[in-house]
Symmetry: C2
Subunit: 394 residues, 2 copies
């Protein structure tokens, strides 16, 4: 299948990749008090692990992404990794030096155990019985992947948005296992408005009659309408107001000859068409229970909570150096939320590099190719190479 | 019923009020090309119309409000008018001087003809057959109320949010009938992001299986789930991020004794409880088809459109003086949108007063009692009193 990928594209990327599925049989105790008896994680790796396992980078994904971080999927030549512009040979996270691991979060729907997986105790999909997870649970589940590879300490744990929260949690939960922590377009806890958007999205899903209390698998159906609305809400929060104005403005979709409106509730504006398409597409491949689970994990994440709201206390044991990046037009996790993290780290005399990138693309900017943004990440990884005395492995 | 209202409260307000229903039998041609053969408008009035009908103020309402602008509803002592802090004896819009009219928009669900009304041609509720309306249609429908009272020219036409768009449209469509135009927390056209939020809300309603293509009345049901989600989305956009943080923060709802989370999808945070309550309440009294109709009218409003996007050309014939007010934390219709209006008016050498109020409460600020905001409106109306040489009528 990969024959259809242009030679140049392949040579600049990690190439054709396939996931590996790791089964963990040791029970995983969860924040909720429940225990997951065993679980599977889907992973991909890029680059070569060096002899002392000191060049490993863990990349954590956001809500709808997966372990497929870079390269071209062996099963689908159109499926390019979600951070392929960031991870690859010669790219900011250079796989000629680093061994990069992508892990599909526990509870997600791209190969790791989740609500749509078979519950071994019943032989049917978990559905509503799948436990609610937290960011901390994800980190504990992922630590076993590090063990599997014999990685005692990651050169870096890195992520954007929710992935950034995971990277942060790694630095807090496993301080001795994270040399550098890269937190991009993220936050140390959701705001009331963030939770509010998540809650509306969840209500759209849960009140969809085809949700069946989370056990829609048994009814051979999917709460597509709710999931589609949830995705549409999400999409609005990923883009900046200006970016939407630039992309769509008030342009009419399929304008009538005389420019008159159609005066109805079908698609009339370009932005409506775009959102409907995004909602429709998403509801065709994403699991509704996973949407609930991941947004809830986001809501719950708040490492300062058990320290009376004092973030610097929550970060007291951190050993990692930090790179924190925010984007000026990101109104989902605005720069101020990143500055909170930076201030708390500085208070602890942790080493932190902070870049606030003036970019027009809202929250989505962390996925896009912005020269200044990529230069910052590249420079930081070059510093890691020097600090850890890493060599080219490829 | 009004006995339960404290004496002081009543003396400071316009008192107990009842709506009047005006029937218009002359066909109303609509922007869509359709014609409404006849229609009813629910109205309330406060104060006394003077002999030359020069002291009339029309107050236009926003999405979910009505003709009940001020005072205490005769049928429900808890039903205080939505702008009671603004309109009344001694208030910024002083009913000792002005004769104030509130009109429920055509297509709404509080007594004026709308989708839930009986279609005289079928004897059943209009439902999906009720025509799509525009802001311009509303103005044409309302002009007949002015005719009914013998009002040739309003001392002021005034509104907040959607109501401000109506006021602006009045000044454009009937330039000789508007002496002053008061546009608060409004815009001259929705942005792509504004349309996007409306569209998601509409999709939530339309895809609710109980919507039945708009003819849910015939099925004795209501698309409550969709309407509730729509309202929750709206509510998020009415409040500022900071205001939500202040009001709700990350506070747990009914905290557990040990402060642990419940790890589920029921209400866990205060903000969730608030939004669910708002959605639930709204879906109990508001008509889903009206929600579609009004949000669509908002989408369509764009007076500059037929002038190649040149707003000053659209405003070329305006005769009214303007007061325009915006609020710094209103991210639904931010100050920049008001400044567009001000710039276009100034380009035409129209008289315009502009106040940008530093207020923390987002879009909702236009409904709240802010001393600086109310002082600006009061001063402007005192200027109208002098300009039109009005006298106390009460």
């Amino acid at each position: 299948m990969a024959e259809s990928i242009p030679e140049k594209k392949l040579s600049e990327s990690v190439g054709v990749v396939s996931p590996v599925y790791l089964d963990f049989q040791e029970p995983l105790p969860l924040a909720s008090g429940q225990v997951l008896e065993n679980y599977t994680l889907a992973i991909e790796t890029y680059g070569t692990l060096n002899a002392d396992a000191s060049n490993a980078v863990l990349v954590c994904h956001a809500l709808n992404a997966s372990h497929h971080v870079a390269g071209v999927s062996a099963s689908d030549p159109n499926d390019i990794g979600w951070w392929d512009n960031m991870v690859g040979p010669g790219k900011p996270v250079d796989t000629n030096v680093f061994f990069v691991i992508g892990i599909n979060n526990l509870g997600s729907c791209f190969g790791s155990s989740g609500p749509a997986s078979i519950n071994p105790q019943t032989g049917r999909p978990w559905g509503a019985a799948f436990p609610v997870l937290t960011v901390e649970d994800w980190v504990r589940a992922q630590a076993r992947v590090a063990d599997h590879f014999g990685i005692k300490r990651f050169a870096a744990v890195m992520g954007g948005s929710l992935g950034g929260m995971q990277a942060l949690s790694w630095a807090i939960q496993c301080p001795e296992r994270v040399a550098h922590c890269v937190v991009i377009a993220s936050t140390c806890s959701l705001s009331a408005q963030n939770i509010a958007f998540n809650e509306v999205a969840r209500r759209a899903i849960i009140t969809d009659p085809e949700f069946y209390g989370g056990d829609y698998y048994a009814h051979n159906t999917v709460p597509k309408r709710g999931l589609s609305v949830a995705r549409m809400i999400g999409h609005i929060t990923y883009l900046s107001d200006d970016d939407m104005a630039e992309k769509f403005g008030r342009a009419q979709r399929n304008p009538t000859e005389d420019g008159r409106f159609r005066y109805g509730y079908d698609v009339e504006f370009e932005v409506e068409s775009y959102l409907r398409y995004q909602g429709e597409k998403f509801s065709g491949y994403f699991d509704a229970n996973t949407y609930l689970l991941i947004t809830r994990a986001l809501d719950y994440f708040d490492p300062a909570r058990r320290h009376g709201g004092d973030l610097s206390k929550a970060l007291a044991n951190v050993q990692a150096d930090f790179l924190t990046v925010s984007f000026t037009t990101d109104w989902r996790f605005p720069p101020e939320r990143s500055r909170e993290l930076v201030r708390a780290l500085l208070k602890n005399q942790s080493k932190v590099t902070y870049a606030e990138i003036d970019a027009p693309h809202g929250h989505d900017a962390f996925l896009l190719t912005d020269p200044r943004y990529h230069a910052v990440v590249r420079a930081y990884y070059e510093r890691i190479v020097r600090a850890l005395d890493l060599e080219v492995t490829a």
